[in-house]
């Protein structure tokens, strides 16, 4: 078989992607594509793992059997999603050990939204509702990803996230319809989570270096602004229907465009928090590092044992 040049391979690769076919492990792919995906999938996996902590913190305090069981199941799902995503990244040639080491060394990024604190029970419901809704809009798009293992992982994750949204919404409704203290607690939580959630969709595409390339190779199929707009249009009417509101007086429906106008989040804040200067970055990584260190003897013992028991 005649060897194809790199140029020929690239042409074939791009034609395959343009046809909507999936790229599978072992397929030839441009280095940039591989690197981009490892970065994206890795960050996504790290987000799930770090994301266990803001809500997991409330498991001991969950009010009532149903809320407690539901919250354990949700945080368990997040571990499950991390597991699926690390595996997808591993198919591109990067080991889970190295990904975890990078995260714990502070060298890897993860969704910035998980650097914010969760000071009240209402934060749990708001994360489940708002943050997961934003995530699902993004993730439904990622399920169309050209990379097979990532698309497959995303389909499964989207399916489970749809429960999380319902669970979060259910909790928020109970608070919104509850005592004045409960209502205030949930409105405070929205006030604190609104802009961090908007930031989840990523900076305006003019500021993002990765979007253009990602879109060409169908790693992403929508721009950050499109995803953010979709989120706002979907969630604002629901928030207002509960008698709650967003902390943005400029957030109004525009008859002409058929969309909600809204204020942009503070993108300087995003930069600061992403680069480690957020309220909980250090705390959360410290917790993960401690768990990892304390579990080392277990991993080593079970690995050593694998030769004896089979």
């Amino acid at each position: 078989m005649a060897e194809r040049t790199t140029e020929q391979k690239l042409t074939e690769f791009e034609a395959r992607v343009a046809r909507g076919e999936k790229i599978e492990p072992g397929d030839w792919m441009p280095d940039e594509y591989r690197k981009n995906l490892i970065r994206m999938i890795g960050q996504h996996a790290h987000s799930e793992i770090v994301g266990q902590l803001p809500e997991g913190k409330w498991i001991p305090y969950a009010p009532g059997f149903r809320r407690k069981l539901t919250l354990i199941a949700k945080v368990q799902d997040e571990a499950g999603h991390g597991q699926l995503l690390y595996r997808a990244a591993e198919t591109l040639g990067k080991s889970r050990e190295s990904m975890i080491e990078e995260l714990l060394a502070g060298k890897a990024k993860y969704a910035n939204v998980f650097n914010y604190p969760t000071p009240t029970w209402a934060d749990v419901g708001i994360i489940g509702w708002l943050v997961d809704t934003s995530a699902v809009i993004n993730q439904t798009m990622l399920a169309q990803s050209s990379y097979g293992p990532y698309a497959r992982a995303m389909k499964r994750i989207c399916y489970e996230e749809s429960f999380h949204i319902k669970q979060g919404y259910d909790s928020v409704v109970a608070l919104a319809k509850g005592t004045p203290e409960q209502r205030q607690m949930v409105q405070d939580a929205i006030n604190r989570w609104w802009f961090p959630t908007l930031m989840m969709s990523g900076p305006p595409d003019s500021l993002s270096q990765h979007t253009a390339q990602a879109m060409k190779w169908r790693i992403k199929t929508k721009s950050n602004e499109q995803v953010r707009q979709e989120f706002v249009d979907h969630i604002v009417p629901q928030i207002r229907a509960l008698g709650l509101d967003v902390p943005d007086s400029d957030c109004q429906f525009d008859q002409q465009t058929g969309h909600y106008r809204y204020s942009q989040p503070d993108w300087e804040e995003l930069k600061r928090v992403v680069n480690g200067d957020g309220p909980c970055n250090k705390e959360r990584l410290d917790i993960r590092r401690k768990a990892h260190e304390e579990g080392r003897w277990v991993r080593e013992a079970l690995a050593a044992q694998s030769n004896k028991v089979d």
Partner: protein, 266 residues
């Protein structure tokens, strides 16, 4: 053998019996859930979260039976009672410790639960035997999982053996609380609702001792007249409301949010 009719058994005896089981499961389940997000490896984080949900789920099953007997709502029982009204054994109150302590405690508890539930299968009280049959289905997997971890960690490396032995040294006297004799149970035993704790403890020892010894873990027991006899002081008291300070902290946490609006919907 004479069996008292169930009408003769005081309600209090039956209720106490069910409440002890419900509280054990709830408090252990709460401790188990403290590992979600902190387990040694992702896959075990997922697995152990299932155990936590199962134990809390089991407590809900017992609390639901308690509700049939008394009308008391499960959420009210778990989230509004004062900490010194709980009747769990002290064993389940202690902090989760390192993974070795958790594995040993879980194993001891799973075998105890298996032994107790099996003994309830032929209970003369139908609600007990039905509940036991239902819960035993999940218990089989719990036992598989905790035993798998115990047997692998028990003598894998120098460090794991050291930690597991320390865990056993700590947990074994505490585990006696699972079989603490309770006065109100004597009429349940006479009526065939339940079997006596000594018999159950023996069954438990017959499983646990060889299992631990098979991976070189030592237990403070001696064999006398063909039976295992513990030589340590049992950590009793939980059934009589004599708890450790750990339970107060635990229950404070458990109830913190609920108590903000105890009559409201959450």
């Amino acid at each position: 053998m004479d069996r008292q009719s169930h009408a003769d058994i005081s309600r209090h005896s039956k209720e106490t019996f069910v409440l002890n089981l419900a509280d054990d499961e709830l408090i252990l389940g709460h401790r188990d859930s403290e590992w979600t997000g902190y387990a040694p490896i992702l896959e075990e984080d997922i697995a152990f979260s299932n155990i936590a949900q199962d134990e809390i789920g089991h407590s809900l099953v017992w609390f639901s039976l308690y509700q049939e007997m008394t009308g008391a709502d499960p959420d009210a029982m778990a989230f509004k009672r004062n900490w010194n009204e709980f009747t769990c054994c002290r064993f389940v109150e202690y902090p989760k410790g390192d993974f070795a302590y958790t594995v040993v405690r879980q194993y001891f508890f799973d075998i105890a639960e298996q032994v107790k539930l099996e003994s309830l299968l032929d209970s003369t009280m139908e609600s007990m035997s039905q509940t036991a049959e239902r819960l035993l289905k999940e218990e089989a997997y719990h036992r598989l999982h905790s035993e798998s971890l115990l047997k692998r960690l028990g003598n894998a490396t120098v460090e794991s053996a050291r930690r597991m032995q320390s865990a056993v040294d700590l947990a074994f006297p505490q585990s006696a609380g699972l079989f603490e004799p309770v006065e109100t149970e004597s009429e349940l035993i006479k009526a065939g609702v339940f079997k006596c704790h000594d018999a159950l403890l023996n069954k438990w020892l017959e499983i646990v001792v060889p299992s631990l010894e098979s991976v070189d873990l030592q237990l403070p027991v001696e064999k006398r007249d063909g039976k295992y006899k513990p030589t340590c002081t049992p950590d009793f008291g939980g059934r009589r409301g004599s708890h450790t300070a750990h339970l107060k902290t635990l229950v404070d946490d458990l109830q913190k949010v609920f108590r903000m609006a105890p009559e409201a919907q959450w």
